[in-house]
Amino acid sequence: FQDQAEQFFRSGHTNNWAVLVCTSRFWFNYRHVANTLSVYRSVKRLGIPDSHIVLMLADDMACNPRNPKPATVFSHKNMELNVYGDDVEVDYRSYEVTVENFLRVLTGRIPPSTPRSKRLLSDDRSNILIYMTGHGGNGFLKFQDSEEITNVELADAFEQMWQKRRYNELLFIIDTCQGASMYERFYSPNIMALASSQVGEDSLSHQPDLGIGVHLMDRYTFYVLEFLEEIHPASQTNMNDLFQVCPKSLCVSTPGHRTDLFQRDPQNVLITDFFGSVRKVEITTETISLDRDLAGFESEFPEGELATEPLKYAEQLPVAQIIHQKPKQKDWHPPGGFILGLWALIIMVFFKTYGIKHMKHVF
C-alpha cells in the first residue's frame, strides 16, 4: 500500500526539458548572462543533456571586447566559478533571441528548416523548466532593449502548449524587476511559477566584481544557485524548500510563487523533477525466443548490388513558397477611412468656424 501511495504522488513524467532565456544585451547586463549560464550549469550537472536544453543568450559576454578575462563568465566574486566552461551549447545567440523566436520555440510553430537543437521537442510526459531573466516591468519583459513580451502573450503561449499537450508539468522561474506580474495571467493547468520580486519591487543584483567591473549575478538567482549546489541527482528535497530560498533579509525584494494551477502538493514535488532528469526504469523480465537456426534472412538485394534510388537534393529553402509569396500582411493600421473622415471633420469645422470667405486667403 505504501508503494501505491508513493506512486500516486510521484510525477508522471518521462523526460525533462529546460528553456533558459537571457533577454538583455550590452556589457553592463553581464549578470543576466551569468544568471542564465549558472542555471544551465546546474541543470546539466543534475542530468539534463544538451539535446534537451534550449539556451537563449541575447549577448556574448565571454568574448565581449570589454571582458578582461576572455572566454569566461564568472558567477562569484574573486572569480571562483567560471560558468562558461568548455561545453556550453548556446542554441539561440545574440540577435536570434527575439520574442518571436521565443514564442515559436514554445508553441512549436517553427519553420521546417530549423535544426533539431533549436526545437523544443517535448511531449505530454515532459516536465519543462523555463527560466527567464533580464529587465522587466509590471506585466512585461524587455527583449534586446527593443521589444517586449507581455504576461498575456506568455500565458497564451502556455495555453497553446497545453492544448497540444506539449508539457506534463511546467516550472516557470523569472528573475527580473516586478517578476511576479509575469505569472499573474497564467491560466493553464500544471504550472508552478516562482519570481524574484513582487509587483512594485525591484530585483537587486548581488555583488560587483572590481576586476571585471560589473555586477556578476542577481541576488535571487545567486541564492537559488547556492541552494541547487546542495542538490544531487538522488536528493529528495522538495519545492517547499525552494520557496524559502532568498528571504527578504537576503534578497531585499520579496520572492513570490504561484502554485494554484499545479495539481500536486509542492511538498511532493522533488527539485529533481524539474532540474534534473531522473528516469523511470523497469526491469526487463520478458524475453522473446528467436530461432537461431534460421540461415540468415535473405537480404532483399544480392551482395554487391545496391538498390539505387535516384538521389534528390533536399530543398533547403521553400523556394516555391518564396517565389509565389504574397506580400506579408503589414502591422495593424487604423483603417484609411477613419483618417479621411477625421480630416474631413477637421476641415469642415475649421471653415464653419471661421467662415468660407476666408478660403480665398488660404488659397
Binding site: G47, R104, T107, E153, D156, K164, I283, T284
Partner: protein, 498 residues
C-alpha cells in the same frame, strides 16, 4: 456534443462437433451483437461493438482441428480464415478435447484465431469468449491509455501513460558501450543481427509506422553509477535504486539523430570494465535479473553483457569478445515490444499464448497496436482542430493561408472517414485515414504563419492613440461647441427681430 466512436470487431465463432452448448437461443448459424461502452470522460466515450457470427465448422476446418497439437492446428487453420485486420475467429472445441493441454482452456495462436474449450453452458462460453476477444483486440484499459489525454487526472496512475505515443515513424539506435577498450576488443555483428532478427520484426511493424535503424560504438563511455562488490557471489551488483541515474551521463554522448524529428529509441549494450566484471542488475528482492537488462518508458533499454572471465591471468589483453547477437536481440526485441505496450505478463493461468517466433509479434498484437493508435490519432486530431478553432476565435487578426485551410479541410475529411471505417470494421483503412488526418492537422496547427504576435492590450491602445488625437481633438471640440452656440443664437435672433 458527446463524441461517439464505434469500434466494430467482426468475430466468427465456429463450433466444432461435440462442442455446441445445449442452451443456444437459436439454431446455428446466427448473428449476435454485443455492445459495451467505455467511458473515458463526460464527453468522450468509445463503444465497442462485437459482431459475432455463430456457426458450425466446415469440413476443412474440422480436418485442421484434428491435428495433434494446437500449434499445428493453428497453422493449418490460417489459410481458412478471414485475414483482414481487426477480425477474429474463435474455434470452440469440445470440453474433453485433447487438442488443448491439460488445465488450459484457451489457446491463442499467432495469427488472428484462438481455440477455446467449451464450458458447458452458453453463458460460461460467452464469458470466456469475451475475455479472449478483449485480449486480442482492445480492453477498457488500453482504450483509456490511448485516450490518456482526456482521462480526468487522478483516475489514471502516472504509469499508465508510459507507452510510446502514436507517431508516423520511429528511429531505433543500437549502441555498443565499451568503457574499457584496453581490456576488451568487442566485436558485434550488428548488421547481420539487424538483417537476421530485427528486420522481420520491423517489417511486420512497418504497417504501423516507418522505422529506421542505425548503430554506433562508443568507447570510454561509463555508467554514472559505481557498482557495489558482493563477496558472496563475487560479482558486482547494480541495485534498482541506482538504475535511474545510469542513463543520464551516457545520454549526452548518444547523439540523438540530428536529421529526423521522429522519436528515438535507444538500445544500449554495455560491456563492463574488466575491473567491474561480472556485473549483474539486482531486482527489488536482491536477486540478479535473468535478462541483466532494464528499460525506460519512451526512451529505450540497456543490457549488460558480461564477458566470461578468461581462465588464465596471462591471457594477453585486449581480450577478443564476440557478442552473441541472438541473445542480445532476444532482450532488445522484447524491450521494443514492452515500449510499445505489448506485454504478455498479466494473463489468466488457463490461457496459453503461442510465441510469435522471429516475427516478434503475433497478428493480433499488431491489431492491438492498430486499434490503440487509430483511436489515439482520432482523439489527437479532434483536440488539435478544436484548439485551432479556439485560437482563431480568440485572436481575430490571424490570417489563414490557403494551404493551412486546405490542410484543415483534409484533416476533417480524413477523420470523418476514419470514424466511418471503424464503424464498418475496416481496421487498416481506418488506421491509414487516421494517419493522414494527424499529418494534416499537425501541419495546419504548427504552420509557422499562425503566430499571434498581434496582441494589442487595451491600455496600450489608449497609450498610443491618446497623445496623438487628444491635442488635435481639443480645437475641434471647442469649435464644434462654438458652432452649436452660434446656431442656437441664430435661431433665437429671427424671433427677436420679429
Amino acid at each position: 456534443r458527446p463524441r461517439q466512436v464505434r469500434l466494430v470487431v467482426p468475430i466468427a465463432v465456429a463450433f466444432s462437433p461435440g462442442s455446441v452448448p445445449g442452451d443456444l437461443p437459436r439454431p446455428l448459424p446466427f448473428r449476435d451483437v454485443q455492445e459495451m461502452e467505455i467511458t473515458v470522460n463526460l464527453r468522450t466515450s468509445v463503444t465497442s461493438h462485437y459482431e459475432m457470427v455463430y456457426r458450425g465448422t466446415t469440413a476443412q476446418e474440422e480436418a485442421a482441428l484434428a491435428a495433434a497439437t494446437a500449434r499445428e492446428a493453428d497453422a493449418a487453420l490460417r489459410p481458412l480464415q478471414d485475414v483482414s485486420m481487426g477480425s477474429l475467429t474463435m474455434y470452440v472445441v469440445p470440453e474433453t478435447s485433447s487438442l488443448l493441454p491439460q488445465g488450459i482452456s484457451v489457446y491463442v495462436g499467432k495469427h488472428r484465431s484462438a481455440l477455446v474449450r467449451a464450458g458447458g453452458s452458453l453463458a460460461a462460453l460467452q464469458a470466456r469468449l469475451q475475455q479472449v476477444t478483449q485480449l486480442m483486440s482492445f480492453t477498457a484499459t488500453s482504450m483509456a491509455a490511448a485516450l490518456s489525454d482526456r482521462v480526468p487526472d487522478g483516475r489514471l496512475s502516472p504509469d499508465a501513460r508510459r507507452y510510446l505515443k502514436s507517431s508516423l515513424g520511429y528511429e531505433i539506435t543500437f549502441s555498443l558501450l565499451n568503457p574499457d577498450p584496453k581490456s576488451h576488443a568487442v566485436d558485434w555483428d550488428i548488421e547481420g543481427a539487424v538483417n537476421c532478427y530485427v528486420k522481420p520484426v520491423l517489417d511486420k511493424l512497418s504497417l504501423v509506422a516507418n522505422f529506421s535503424v542505425d548503430s554506433q560504438i562508443l568507447y570510454y563511455a561509463v555508467l554514472g553509477v559505481t557498482p557495489r562488490y558482493d563477496k558472496e557471489s563475487s560479482s558486482f551488483l547494480l541495485s534498482t535504486h541506482s538504475l535511474p541515474h545510469v542513463i543520464n551521463p551516457v545520454e549526452a554522448r548518444l547523439g540523438s539523430s540530428a536529421a529526423s524529428l521522429y522519436p528515438v529509441l535507444n538500445f544500449l549494450l554495455y560491456v563492463p570494465e574488466r575491473s567491474h566484471s561480472p556485473l549483474y542488475i539486482q531486482d527489488k528482492d536482491g536477486a540478479p535479473v535473468s535478462t541483466n537488462a532494464f528499460h525506460s518508458p519512451r526512451w529505450g533499454g540497456i543490457m549488460v553483457y558480461n564477458v566470461e572471465a578468461s581462465a588464465s591471468p596471462q591471457a594477453s589483453l585486449p581480450l577478443h569478445v564476440d557478442v552473441d547477437m541472438a541473445r542480445v536481440m532476444e532482450v532488445f526485441l522484447a524491450q521494443l515490444r514492452l515500449l510499445f505496450g505489448l506485454s504478455r505478463e498479466e494473463l489468466p493461468a488457463e490461457f496459453l499464448l503461442e510465441s510469435p517466433g522471429n516475427e516478434g509479434l503475433a497478428d493480433w498484437e499488431l491489431d492491438h497496436l492498430l486499434w490503440a493508435h487509430t483511436v489515439e490519432n482520432i482523439a489527437t486530431v479532434s483536440t488539435t482542430l478544436t484548439s485551432l478553432a479556439q485560437l482563431l476565435d480568440k485572436i481575430g487578426n490571424i490570417v489563414i493561408k490557403d494551404d493551412v485551410a486546405s490542410e484543415v479541410y483534409r484533416a476533417v475529411a480524413s477523420v470523418q472517414s476514419a470514424v466511418a471505417k471503424l464503424g464498418k470494421g475496416h481496421l487498416y483503412s481506418a488506421f491509414q485515414a487516421s494517419k493522414e488526418a494527424v499529418t494534416s492537422s499537425e501541419r495546419a496547427f504548427f504552420d509557422p504563419s499562425l503566430l499571434h504576435l498581434l496582441y494589442f492590450p487595451d491600455d496600450q491602445k489608449f497609450a498610443i492613440y491618446i497623445p496623438l488625437f487628444l491635442p488635435m481633438a481639443v480645437p475641434i471640440l471647442l469649435s464644434l461647441a462654438k458652432i452649436v452656440r452660434e446656431t442656437r443664437q441664430r435661431k433665437k435672433e429671427p424671433t427677436k427681430m420679429d
